[in-house]
């Protein structure tokens, strides 16, 4: 870890209660040092302006307990760091009507939001009468739901950005079109702005998203990131993409893990990787739970859960997919993508449950299927779904069949989320996570003990694929980011013996709804 990059200044010790682990009812509370990097940011109306009215780039530490107001675009210069102590609330004053009135963070250096379970951080809109927030009455209403208004511009990490780390942080109401500075980031004015975009011109930037909430975006949420090492773990992605867009959309030359995320009510895919020709991309996707994804996308053949295409690979295991447009897709040639890197792809032990195999809601296009035929995806050992593999063609695709009678047969039996009930009518389109929903697994769930994990034996043994040099080289979980216990490093949770983001042993995703 290149800590010297962070130019650590004053380190103050402020006691914060920390529940580090639970074991046999024994509680240990140890205070953790509070970090300050550079100067404290005491002004709460940001950005500050110089004598001629120009915004001063932001650097330093945003202090615990403070609420900051962002009035216009904030830039973090190359080499500079902005650090948020736990318990910081950032309110962005934006209305989503134009790029100028929807401020964004332009990160050319480092931004670390070090929230904790007890002292969470917030990046959300400053609510007014004309800028209302969403609520649970907006179940399937893109037109009126404030979640899709794109009130502010998200985190746009430029070609020199080093690190974006969001831990126990809420990021809400992002998106909208790019303004005049779009070309600095490789876009054109008017293109869609993602909640998090990262693309380093040379080498790799680092994107660490942990235990955070991403709620409401107009387009892709974690969108089109490239040349980045990622660790995206234990997050909740909800109501992302209005009439298109993905929860996570990783592009070429990205290496890392996506695990223990819940994606719920995403326009297209919850989790997607799509690289480029001639460039390898490898992302492990495991132990995620995806519910109600893929139905707001207007293009008929985009997938709706987990999708890999154009030269991407990775280990894809232990995921639970419920009531999404389609299950896992390892794409051959799709309307948008080119073939996945099948050699460096290893997958299995995924559960796909569909509410109904027949047309839904009287809408001819709304079929739910386990696996889209004529792509690379096969029903693999350990998979739980109603797909029967067909003959494998010379190009590696297979034309199998989906058994419509297998509806609800693979219900993962969530602790408090009735899949059958949530399949009635158009409930599959409802993007509101029901209050009190619990996606942990009930006793008797077919997903319990059905995963691959370290120490697992037989069918549950960690998969290996000696012929795939990249898979072997990068590992499962991946080893691209250092894990030293430093707060600037990710906390990686390996695959669990149970499927899904909420395994019975209480590890994995810590969110409650």
């Amino acid at each position: 870890m290149k800590k010297h990059h962070f130019r650590i200044g004053l380190i103050a010790m402020i006691p914060v209660v920390m529940f580090s682990c639970k074991k046999d009812g024994e509680n240990t509370n140890i205070s953790k040092p509070l970090t300050i990097i550079g100067q404290s940011i005491s002004d709460t109306i940001l950005p500050m302006k110089d004598a001629s009215g120009n915004s001063i780039p932001l650097k330093g530490t945003m202090l615990a307990g403070k609420t900051y107001h962002i009035m216009s675009d904030v830039t973090i210069n190359a080499g500079d760091t902005v650090y948020l102590q736990p318990g910081v609330k950032v309110l962005i004053h934006g209305d989503g009507l134009s790029p100028a009135t929807s401020p964004a963070f332009y990160v050319n250096g480092t931004l670390v939001s070090a929230g904790s379970k007890e002292a969470q951080n917030w990046f959300t809109v400053y609510e007014t009468a004309s800028v209302p927030k969403s609520n649970s009455t907006y179940k399937d209403d893109v037109v009126n739901d404030p979640a899709y208004k794109g009130y502010w511009g998200g985190f746009q990490c430029g070609p020199t950005a080093d690190l974006l780390l969001l831990r126990w942080t809420h990021v809400e109401y992002t998106g909208g079109p790019w303004g005049n500075n779009a070309a600095d980031f490789g876009f054109a004015p008017g293109d869609a702005r993602n909640a998090v975009y990262m693309n380093r011109a040379a080498g790799f930037s680092k994107l660490i998203l942990e235990d955070s909430w991403f709620f409401g975006s107009k387009d892709d949420c974690i969108g089109k990131c490239q040349n980045t090492y990622v660790s995206i773990m234990r997050n909740t992605f909800n109501k992302l993409g209005g009439t298109g867009g993905e929860g996570v959309n990783l592009k070429n030359h990205v290496f890392g893990d996506m695990a223990y995320n819940l994606t719920y009510g995403i326009a297209t895919n919850g989790l997607k990787t799509a690289g480029a020709t001639g460039v390898n991309t490898l992302v492990n996707i495991y132990n995620n739970t995806l519910v109600n994804c893929g139905f707001r996308q207007t293009k008929a053949t985009r997938n709706g859960s987990i999708n890999t295409e154009t030269n991407t690979g990775g280990f894809i295991y232990n995921n639970i997919i419920v009531n999404c447009k389609q299950g896992l897709r390892i794409s051959y040639q799709s309307e948008k993508g080119k073939p996945s890197d099948t050699l460096n792809t290893s997958y299995g032990h995924n559960l796909t449950c569909i509410g109904r195999g027949t047309q839904m809601g009287g809408d001819a296009q709304q079929y739910m299927i386990f696996i889209e035929p004529n792509q690379f995806t096969l029903k693999q050992p350990g998979d739980l779904n109603g797909y029967t593999n067909g003959p494998i063609a010379a190009n590696g695709t297979n034309a199998g069949t989906n058994n419509p009678n297998d509806s609800l047969k693979y219900d993962p039996m969530f602790m408090n989320y009735d899949v059958a009930k949530n399949s009635i009518g158009k409930e599959y389109r409802n993007s509101v996570i029901p209050a009190g929903a619990d996606f942990h697994l009930k006793t008797g769930s077919p997903a319990i003990g059905a995963g691959v994990y370290k120490g697992g034996a037989g069918a549950n043994a960690m998969p290996t694929k000696p012929s795939a040099t990249l898979l072997t080289q990068y590992g499962f979980p991946m080893n691209v980011l250092p894990v030293t216990g430093s707060e600037f490093d990710p906390t990686i949770t390996g695959p669990n013996k149970d499927m899904g983001a909420f395994p019975t042993d209480g590890t994995g995703n810590q969110h409650t709804y």
Binding site: D184, G186, Q333, N344, G357, Q365, Y367, N395
Partner: protein
């Protein structure tokens, strides 16, 4: 006022006058122009006493037979020439050549420099070619009028070594001279450069000019120092009609059809419904566009059955004030409906280098082209030593195009024909372009027979606007029911998609001054002319661009909105503030200062033009992108010293040998150096490249010219060009997002050489015109491909050698002409062949798009009906030639792709059929 004087300028007996026995004799002969010795086709020869007459044929010859011996009055008349009345005694078969004198040249001693007597004629054109200092090819107005071509662009492809790049409607738009595309050529009107309405380049679209206002088109293939240097390939100079010697009226009206329009009808949208200004331009930067700001009528297509094409021209000229003032006015109007069908299935690149087809587009185009042009040319002789002239031209082209696309996605879920995803599109695109040019010129003799000065002051303005390009889209198709795989496919609802509305507008303004000084004298019996001069041009360009994205609003129950018609389409505006920060919003300037010195002298049979030209170029631009962005503004300047030498060795009166060397340049367009980006292209994004260098070239030409008779010519030529830093469009990787950006770039050096053959001959009523050009060019660039080794994909950048884009190895033209003056009938059939050539350079290795060789046959005929009136007919593209583009790689799709023949080893990427075009009209010509 006309002098009825009788001149016998030349009279020659060639045949023997023998006293034979027969009582009936045959008289053969040829009628010539006294000055130029051009054979005059269509002159009337009358034997007054016998009331016998005939007209001369294409080669100026005539025959009168069964003439009893005796003495007769022969009257020879030809429009614009002084009638000859002479007496011959016929006592045997005789052969006579009679020369007629041009009516004007006898009237006054003033010979208007720069004007050719009866410059519209075919023979005058030949004469100019023969005497020109540089290597030239000329198409005369007569040839254009007689040809099937209605635009300059189409007429140009009759010139040897010239092929054309066609517009999307199939009309020739840009000239490719000896394989050098439009970037390497320049376009002049009356010898001066004009502004360009093109939104990306400095090219002049030649399809904007109706051919009937033009006296002749000169294609210069070599340069002399007094010509502008940005012509590596050559220059196209359109010489507008000059004032005639006496009252002259040429008017025509015609109508016609396009075969495809006749067959399939025409999809029309109301151009008047288009908002000419974007919401941003109309309401200012603070305005947020609302859904109501975007019109719908322009996306509502009405299917019409066969609208009629109409054409009208009028040229009228005369001289006044004792011929001191000459006036020529012209107007032209064309309203043409075209419909054509295209299939378009571009190749997609897959890791490892395989090609597959994703989209199979069937596109139906309906295009209405409205051309209007006005031309005025005045010359005024102040006195013997000073005269001034004023030329004004305004040309205007409106192009309203409807494009309905049916796009079948060849990939999954398509498993068999009849299933799969289908996208439907409707696009309306209206482009309005115009060019205005006004030139004031003066010619002054400062010292009689010694020193002359001429100057030109030019104001030129060009404009193009493409307001509100809009293409709606909906996604439907036929899918297999996953719950019943064996059942018949069900129709997927037509779900509306996001779409863009885009406005482009650009203006281009030139102010130019030219000054030339010519000193003529002789030393040691060697006549010479020394010329010095210069030019300065200030160019200013403004480019505006606005783009909005509209997104369908989901239904109230959350379901997707389906297509019913454009009026029910409920959309929201994604970016209500537009896109003002686009680099496409820019202003740029260019100042060119040039000076030259040259000497022309003749040493016995060797005429030499030797000299050097200097051109200094300064370009700058500023865009509306924020200051934080690289390339917001920029400046470039460079200077070129360009020597040239042209030798013409006059073997004899009929034969020239020419050898020339010149160096030339090609400038990047001001737009190309602006780091703009254009994401409106269908298949890729485009961007400018501020780092592109201007091209320089060394050119060598050798030509043998033989003029057996004035109306006949045989040319054999060869050329060689070495081009340093040619600018070619290609795809580049910008390092961002691995996206391919289509942009201009330098790709090392290129060579270009070839041979040209031109043959023309007239025998009696028949004539043959043919030319052939072989061109070889070569450039090596790096391409992109990838290989997969041990599961790791690796980018590779192999080199690929190819011809220059647009260059065909073989170009051939042939025309057979028939002229019967007795019947008043002219007819010609023409054949034009352009061999295979690269239509588009792909970024991918071995993925270039090649246009297949194309044969086009056209027909035209004109018949005199009564005095001054004639009818004419034109048929273009008689055999409905197909425009086909291939990639030399087979498609690897597992599901068969329509129209593909995998066994051919090639992939058909495009096929367009433009259909025949018919035109029938009447012409009125009056010459006093």
């Amino acid at each position: 006022m006309q002098l009825r004087a009788l001149f016998i300028a030349g009279l020659a007996f060639i045949g023997n006058i023998s006293f034979g026995q027969q009582t009936e004799h045959t008289i053969k002969g040829t009628i010539l122009d006294a000055q130029s010795k051009e054979q005059l086709s269509g002159a009337t020869v009358t034997i007054t006493e016998l009331h016998r007459n005939t007209s001369t044929r294409l080669d100026g010859s005539f025959t009168l037979d069964h003439i009893n011996g005796g003495t007769y009055h022969f009257q020879v008349s030809y429009i614009g020439y002084i009638t000859i009345d002479t007496v011959f005694a016929v006592s045997s078969n005789i052969k006579i050549n009679i020369s007629l004198k041009n009516a004007t040249s006898s009237l006054s001693e003033i010979v208007i420099a720069g004007r050719k007597a009866n410059g519209e004629s075919e023979v005058a054109a030949k004469r100019t070619e023969q005497n020109a200092a540089s290597v030239q090819n000329i198409i005369s107005a007569k040839a254009i009028q007689m040809s099937p071509d209605v635009t300059v662009g189409n007429a140009l492809q009759r010139v040897s070594g010239v092929s054309v790049e066609r517009s999307s409607s199939g009309d020739g738009r840009y000239a490719i001279i000896r394989g050098m595309d439009q970037r390497y050529n320049n376009t002049l009107i009356n010898g001066v450069k004009i502004a360009s309405p093109d939104n990306k380049s400095r090219f002049i679209p030649l399809d904007i000019f109706p051919s009937d206002l033009i006296e002749r088109i000169e294609v210069n293939k070599t340069l002399i120092p007094n010509m502008e240097a940005d012509a590596i390939g050559g220059t196209v100079n359109m010489v507008m009609k000059n004032a005639p010697d006496a009252l002259y009226v040429n008017a025509s009206a015609s109508a016609g059809f396009n075969q495809n329009v006749l067959k399939n009808g025409f999809d029309q949208f109301p151009v008047s419904a288009i908002n000419k200004q974007s919401p941003y331009r109309a309401n200012g930067p603070a305005y947020s566009a609302t859904p109501q700001d975007f019109t719908r009528d322009n996306l509502n297509y009405t299917h019409k059955s066969a609208p009629v094409n109409t054409f009208a021209t009028l040229s009228i000229g005369n001289r006044f004030f004792k011929n001191r003032l000459g006036v020529m006015l012209g107007g032209s109007y064309q309203n043409v409906y075209k419909a054509y069908n295209t299939i378009f299935s571009p190749g997609e690149f897959q890791d490892g280098g395989a090609l597959y087809i994703k989209h199979f587009n069937v596109r139906d185009y309906s295009t209405q082209l409205t051309r209007a042009a006005l031309n005025g040319k005045l010359d005024f002789n102040i006195n013997d030593k000073n005269k001034i002239g004023l030329y004004v031209i305004y040309a205007d082209l409106k192009d309203a195009q409807a494009r309905l696309t049916h796009d079948t996605l060849i990939l999954a879920p398509r498993t068999v024909p009849g299933t799969g995803q289908i996208w439907q599109f409707g696009r309306s695109r209206y482009q309005h372009q115009n060019i205005f040019n006004t030139t004031l010129q003066g010619q002054h003799t400062l010292v009689t027979d010694r020193l002359k000065l001429d100057w030109s002051a030019v104001y030129s303005n060009a404009m193009s606007e493409i307001p509100d390009i809009a293409e709606y889209e909906y996604d439907g198709g036929f899918y297999t029911d996953p719950s019943a795989p064996g059942s018949a496919p069900y129709k997927h609802p037509d779900v509306l998609q996001n779409f863009d509305r885009t406005w482009w507008k650009n203006t281009d303004r030139d102010l130019t001054g030219y000054l030339n000084l010519n000193y003529t004298n002789a030393t040691h019996g060697i006549p010479y002319t020394i010329s010095v001069g210069g030019m300065y041009r200030d160019k200013h360009r403004v480019n505006d661009y606005d783009n909005y994205e509209l997104r369908p609003v989901p239904n109230s129950d959350g379901s997707h909105q389906e297509w019913s018609n454009i009026y029910n389409f409920n959309w929201s505006v994604y970016n209500p503030k537009g896109s003002p920060g686009e680099a496409n919003n820019y202003r740029s300037n260019e100042q060119i200062a040039a000076a030259y010195a040259m000497i022309k002298f003749r040493l016995k049979k060797l005429e030499t033009v030797l000299g050097v030209r200097m051109e200094h170029t300064a370009q700058d631009f500023v865009t509306d992108v924020p200051v934080t962005q690289a390339g917001k503004s920029g400046e470039k300047s460079y200077k070129d010293i360009l020597p040239s030498v042209n030798f013409r060795y006059i073997l004899n009166e009929k034969t020239n040998i020419r050898l020339s060397y010149y160096s030339a340049i090609a400038r990047p367009s001001y737009f190309e150096i602006v780091p703009y980006s254009d994401n409106s292209m269908d298949d890729f994004n485009e961007s400018g490249n501020p780092y592109v260098l201007h091209s320089t070239s060394q050119n060598f030409d050798l030509r043998y010219e033989w003029y057996p008779r004035a109306n006949e010519q045989v040319f054999v030529g060869a050329f060689y060009k070495n081009i340093k830093d040619p600018i070619e469009y290609g795809f580049n990787f910008t390092g961002f997002q691995s996206d391919l950006i289509y942009q201009p770039n330098n790709y090392g050096d290129a060579t270009n050489y070839g041979v040209e053959l031109v043959y023309e001959r007239y025998i009696g009523n028949f004539g043959v015109r043919a030319n052939y050009t072989y061109t070889h060019s070569s450039i090596t660039t790096t391409k992109f491909t990838s290989e997969i080794k041990n599961g790791q994909a690796t980018k590779l950048y192999p080199e690929e050698t190819r011809p220059l884009q647009g260059q065909a190895a073989h170009i051939a033209n042939a025309a057979i002409l028939y002229k019967n003056n007795k019947l008043g009938l002219d007819a010609q059939i023409t054949w034009q062949y352009t061999g295979k050539r690269i239509a588009l350079v792909s970024p991918y290795y071995q993925f270039d798009y090649w246009q297949k060789g194309m044969n086009v046959f056209d027909f035209a005929a004109e018949k005199r009906i009564v005095k001054h009136f004639s009818v004419f007919a034109k048929v273009q593209n008689m055999l409905n030639a197909k425009y086909e583009v291939y990639v030399n790689k087979p498609a690897t799709n597992s599901v068969p792709v329509p129209e593909q023949d995998p066994s051919s080893g090639k992939t058909l990427a495009q096929r367009s059929e433009y259909g025949q075009t018919y035109q029938l009209g009447v012409r009125y010509i009056f010459k006093k």
